[in-house]
C-alpha cells in the first residue's frame, strides 16, 4: 500500500498508508543532528537563552516524532486535538502553579526565623 492508493479506500482508511522509507530515515537523521546540536549548544553559556534554545530544539524534535513517526501529520484531526489539547492542559497546570509559586517570598530557614523573632 502506498500513499497514492489510499484514496481508493475512501477517507475511512486514511491512516492506513505506510510512510515511505526515506521519510523515516530522514527523520531519524534530523533527530540525531538536532541531538548533536543541543549537546553542542550546551557547551556555551548563552545566559538567558540557554533554556529557550534547549527547549526549542527539544520541541522541534518532539514535533518530528509526533508528526512523522507517530503519523499525526497524516492522521485524523481528532488525534491531534487530543494530544495538543492535553499539552494545553499541561501548560495551564504548570504555568498557574509557577505563577502562584513565583509570588511567594522565599523560604525561611530556622536561622532566619530565630533572627526575626529576636529582632
Amino acid at each position: 500500500m502506498t500513499a497514492t492508493d489510499h484514496a481508493a479506500h475512501g477517507d475511512h482508511h486514511e491512516d492506513h498508508h505506510a510512510l515511505p522509507l526515506w521519510m523515516l530515515v530522514g527523520t531519524w537523521g534530523a533527530l540525531m543532528g538536532l541531538t548533536l546540536l543541543t549537546v553542542f549548544s550546551a557547551q556555551f553559556d548563552l545566559g538567558a537563552f540557554d533554556l529557550p534554545i534547549a527547549m526549542g530544539i527539544a520541541t522541534i524534535k518532539a514535533m518530528l516524532v509526533l508528526l512523522i513517526f507517530m503519523h499525526l501529520g497524516f492522521d485524523k484531526g481528532f488525534h491531534s486535538l487530543l494530544i495538543f489539547g492535553s499539552l494545553l492542559f499541561v501548560f495551564l497546570f504548570i504555568s498557574f502553579t509557577l505563577m502562584d509559586r513565583g509570588q511567594y517570598q522565599g523560604d525561611i530557614t530556622v536561622k532566619d526565623s530565630e533572627k526575626l523573632l529576636s529582632d
Binding site: 530556622v110 526565623s113 523573632l117
Partner: protein
C-alpha cells in the same frame, strides 16, 4: 451522660440546690420543670429554706442529705431566683477574687463562692472542670477549681503563690457566646471590626440572592409539577424544545450577578490581606497542638494572647510542624499557618472583648482542642498583663521561682499537657506520673532501655526522637527554639515530684 447545655443546666440547678455538694443530683424532670411566675416576696425565704436545710444536713452528716420535698413549681422559683441573685452578685465576687490574685491580701472564699466564680467562666471550661479531671486539664492557667471523685474540692494549689494568677480578663465571657448584647444573627457571629462588617455585607448580599433563586426554583418546580401533572388524555406540548432569547436571558443575568459578587469580594479580600503599615506585629508559632505568641519586646505567651483595644494587629505566623490555620471568626479572618514560611493575618482589635481562636486546618489528634483566647483590653491593662507575662518565672520577691514551680508552669505554658498527662492516664505521649526512676524501653523486647533520670529527661526534651519509648511514634514536635535552661530544670523537678503518682497499666 454529657449532653452539653442540658447537663450544664443540671449542674447549675444542682449547684444551687446543694451549694457545693453534688452527691444528690436532681433528676432532669425536676430541673427542667416549667416555672410559672413566682410570688416574688416568697422566693428569698424559699431559697433560704432550701439552702440552709441542705447545707446543715450535709455538714452534719457528712454524707448525702435529705430535705423537704419541694414541688416542681417551687423548684422553678428557686432556680430563677437564685439565678437572678447570682447574676447580680457574681460580678462583684469575680472582681474581688481577681483583686486578691494580683497581689493584694485575698480573703478566704467559701466553696460556694468559688463555685459561683467558676460559673462565670467560659462554660466549656467549667464543664471540663466538672468532667472529673483531677488536675489542671488544659493550657489555660485559669482553672480555679478542680474536682475529685465527682466532688468539688479546693482551688488549685494557690495561683497567688505561683505569682501568675489568671488575669482578670480570663473570667470575662467570650463575646461570641455569652454576652447577650452581642447575640449573633442566625448566620454569622458578631462582627468585631469594620472589615468584618464589609464581609458581612457581601455575605448578606449573596444570601438575599440565594433566598430569591431558591424560592423561585422551588415555586416553579412545585407549580409545574402540580399544574402539569399527568392526566389521562392530556399530552405534553412537544413544540417547546428551546427558546433562544430566554436561554440567553437566564445565562446573562447570573453572569452579571456573579460578576458583582466577584468584584465586591475581591475588594474586601484585599482589605483583609493588606495590613495597615502601623499595625502592631505579634509573632505566632503554631505547634501540635497549641499556639505560642511572641511580642515585639520578646515576651512569650502560650495559649492566650492579649492585645490593646482599637489597634490594628498583625499576626506573623509560622508553624513548628504541620499545617495549621489561624481562624478568628469574629474578625472573619483566617490563614493557614505553614512550616518554613510566614503567613500573615491582621485585624483591627476594636472594643475590649474576648474572642475564641480556632485551628481550622486539620493537624492531628489534638486538632479539636487547639483553641486560643484573644483578649482585647484597654492599653494600660494590656501593658500590665504583658509585664506580668514577661516575668512569669519570677516570683513576687523579684527572684526566680523554685524550679518545681517553674516546671509546673512550663508544663502548661509549653503545651506538654496536650500529650503527657500527670494523672497516670495513657495519652498521645507517655504520662509523667510515676515516670521518675522508671525503666524506659525503646523496643518491644526491652533490649534497648534506660532509667528515667535527669539525663534521660533532658535528652527527651532536647532531642525527643533519639529515644522513642516503645510503642510511641515520632509524635512530639521538636520544639524550636528549645526550652531555656531554667525550664528544662523545672521539668526535671516537676517529673521528680510526680514520682509517686500511680500510673495506669496501659500507660507505658
Amino acid at each position: 451522660m454529657k449532653f452539653g447545655a442540658l447537663s450544664l443546666s443540671l449542674v447549675l440547678a444542682a449547684g444551687i440546690a446543694g451549694g457545693v455538694t453534688l452527691a444528690a443530683e436532681p433528676t432532669s424532670s425536676e430541673a427542667a420543670a416549667p416555672a410559672p411566675a413566682a410570688p416574688a416576696q416568697d422566693v428569698d425565704a424559699l431559697i433560704a429554706q432550701y439552702n440552709s436545710k441542705a447545707r446543715a444536713q450535709a455538714l452534719e452528716a457528712g454524707e448525702s442529705y435529705t430535705y423537704r420535698e419541694f414541688s416542681n413549681e417551687e423548684r422553678g422559683w428557686i432556680r430563677e431566683g437564685a439565678e437572678a441573685k447570682r447574676a447580680a452578685a457574681v460580678d462583684g465576687l469575680i472582681a474581688e477574687y481577681n483583686a486578691g490574685l494580683s497581689g493584694m491580701p485575698a480573703r478566704v472564699f467559701t466553696d460556694e463562692e468559688k463555685f459561683w466564680i467558676a460559673m462565670a467562666l467560659d462554660p466549656a471550661e467549667v464543664e471540663s472542670v466538672y468532667e472529673g479531671h483531677t488536675a489542671i486539664p488544659t493550657g489555660n492557667p485559669n482553672k480555679v477549681l478542680y474536682m475529685e471523685a465527682g466532688e468539688l474540692q479546693k482551688p488549685i494549689e494557690s495561683d497567688p503563690q505561683y505569682g501568675t494568677p489568671p488575669a482578670a480578663q480570663n473570667t470575662a465571657p467570650l463575646a461570641e457566646e455569652l454576652d447577650p448584647a452581642l447575640r449573633p444573627s442566625l448566620w454569622v457571629p458578631v462582627a468585631a471590626s469594620e472589615t468584618a462588617e464589609e464581609v458581612d455585607a457581601m455575605f448578606n448580599f449573596i444570601m438575599y440572592i440565594n433566598y430569591f433563586f431558591a424560592a423561585l426554583i422551588a415555586v416553579l418546580m412545585v407549580v409545574f409539577c402540580v399544574k402539569y401533572r399527568r392526566r389521562p388524555g392530556v399530552r405534553a406540548d412537544q413544540s417547546i424544545t428551546h427558546n433562544t432569547p430566554l436561554e440567553i436571558f437566564w445565562s446573562v443575568v447570573p453572569t452579571i450577578l456573579v460578576a458583582i459578587m466577584f468584584w465586591g469580594g475581591y475588594k474586601t479580600f484585599l482589605d483583609l490581606r493588606t495590613s495597615p503599615p502601623d499595625a502592631m506585629q505579634i509573632y505566632v508559632k503554631a505547634r501540635q497542638w497549641g499556639w505560642d505568641f511572641t511580642y515585639q519586646n520578646g515576651v512569650e505567651t502560650a495559649g492566650e494572647f492579649h492585645v490593646p483595644a482599637n489597634t490594628p494587629i498583625e499576626m506573623v505566623m509560622t508553624s513548628n510542624d504541620v499545617l495549621h490555620s489561624f481562624h478568628l471568626p469574629a474578625f472573619r479572618q483566617k490563614s493557614d499557618v505553614l512550616p518554613n514560611r510566614y503567613t500573615k493575618v491582621w485585624f483591627d482589635s476594636g472594643e475590649p472583648r474576648t474572642y475564641r481562636v480556632y485551628c481550622s486546618e486539620y493537624c492531628g489528634t489534638g486538632h479539636s482542642n487547639m483553641y486560643s483566647k484573644l483578649v482585647v483590653e484597654p492599653r494600660e491593662d494590656y501593658e500590665a498583663w504583658l509585664k506580668k507575662e514577661g516575668n512569669w518565672m519570677v516570683g513576687p520577691d523579684g527572684e526566680y521561682k523554685e524550679p518545681l514551680e517553674i516546671g509546673k508552669l512550663t508544663y502548661v505554658r509549653r503545651g506538654c499537657n496536650a500529650c503527657h498527662s500527670i494523672d497516670g492516664k495513657h495519652g498521645t505521649g507517655p504520662t509523667f506520673a510515676g515516670l521518675w526512676g522508671l525503666e524506659r524501653r525503646f523496643d518491644a523486647a526491652g533490649d534497648n532501655k534506660r532509667i528515667a533520670d535527669e539525663d534521660y529527661i533532658r535528652q527527651s526534651i532536647t532531642d525527643p526522637h533519639s529515644q522513642l519509648v516503645y510503642p510511641y511514634g515520632k509524635n512530639m514536635s521538636i520544639y524550636d527554639p528549645m526550652l531555656p535552661e531554667p525550664q528544662i530544670i523545672g521539668m526535671i523537678e516537676y517529673i521528680k515530684s510526680l514520682a509517686d503518682v500511680p500510673r495506669d497499666a496501659d500507660a507505658w
